[in-house]
Symmetry: C2
Subunit: 240 residues, 2 copies
Amino acid sequence: MVSKNQLKLIKSLHQKKYRNQYQLFFVEGIKTVNELLKADFEVDGIYVVKDRVAQFSDYTPTIILESDLKKISALHNPSGVFGVFKIPKPKEVVTQDWIVGLDEVRDPGNLGTVIRLCDWFGIKHLICSKGTVDCYNPKVLQATMGSIARVNVVYEDLTVRIAETELPVLGAFMNGNNVYQEELPKAGMLILGNEANGISDTVSQRIHKKISIPQFGNQSAESLNIATATAILLSEIRRG
Amino acid sequence: MVSKNQLKLIKSLHQKKYRNQYQLFFVEGIKTVNELLKADFEVDGIYVVKDRVAQFSDYTPTIILESDLKKISALHNPSGVFGVFKIPKPKEVVTQDWIVGLDEVRDPGNLGTVIRLCDWFGIKHLICSKGTVDCYNPKVLQATMGSIARVNVVYEDLTVRIAETELPVLGAFMNGNNVYQEELPKAGMLILGNEANGISDTVSQRIHKKISIPQFGNQSAESLNIATATAILLSEIRRG
């Protein structure tokens, strides 16, 4: 059984403040829980409803009442499998490959989708400015579909990272060079900006090359959103 | 002033059943309302809070109380500008360019993003299977960011359309030909499938060529979602 105090603690993890305080986060669904276990994330507790215990062989989960699960879940229809994990220490960003940087991205769905795209395109490190939404936010984790287990997300001052990197730094802008006509380097840093304001001025100043995805339709079309722009730019980087 | 009966009717437009019955839909925000006006959508009524009336020059809107607007809005923070329009008759799909087809896409955000992508990439016609989410659903319209004004969305039997078209028909699959290595035709029909199940068997059988976006990362990465896959494939089609 799960005590009232445990439930209260787990429920508090919906808020960034308590995730930071306890250095814990939670995920839902057997797929994501299993991927974090497989990726050696440190477990604080796995909670499952009775009829799903059999789905775990290497780990003995705690049984939780469906009514208790509803209290802690972020989902309308809780999946029956719930894991609490320790927030891992960010790994050092050492790579001769592409990395992605996000400047003040606010929408959890967008960050989650970008993490999932990094996983698909084999990008190991994602650098987020400190004002970017927390990657352990339940909505972000839901959108990553387990990819959080394989992408190293680091929060830091983007301008410092750019100043220190030896990689070429490209940024997505509305008025940059046509990405289809650019010879893209083998490795680099790709920066995308905030949903409403794009890349901030302080970061812009440090970017080596501005790139754009050209528009083919009506000029009044809204700019592409962060997730679809990231998809296209990572595709361009990898397609060779 | 807006009568109680009018409010009730407008509120009913949250549901597809009533949108079909009245042949009306609503959008929110001055940008989308203006784009629909500009695109000659037939207006049923424009409702704005008092201090935003001045933003309309060619059309005299009805003033609405903020408390009434809250009752009919789909948003947590209504924008103060609300338009009710007649559902347009779908235009005939005549083109020598690419068109996009969706097979049973259920998520309103996904459909909205696909419509926005079609607008960006200059795709004029989007064919949706009858089970695809309604494009006049408020959440779809929110995600289109006004692009619904410029993309002709048609609901029909996809298999009939495919049987009748003279265009080559390509479908996005997990196990198709590497899209980066394909010589894509100048015009065609690009089909994407349901979020969980992909393209249905009956539609699959009629597709001329299966294409895939190759995976560069870990094999356990979840497949790309509909919106990001559409972004990459339309980019491939247009980049030349």
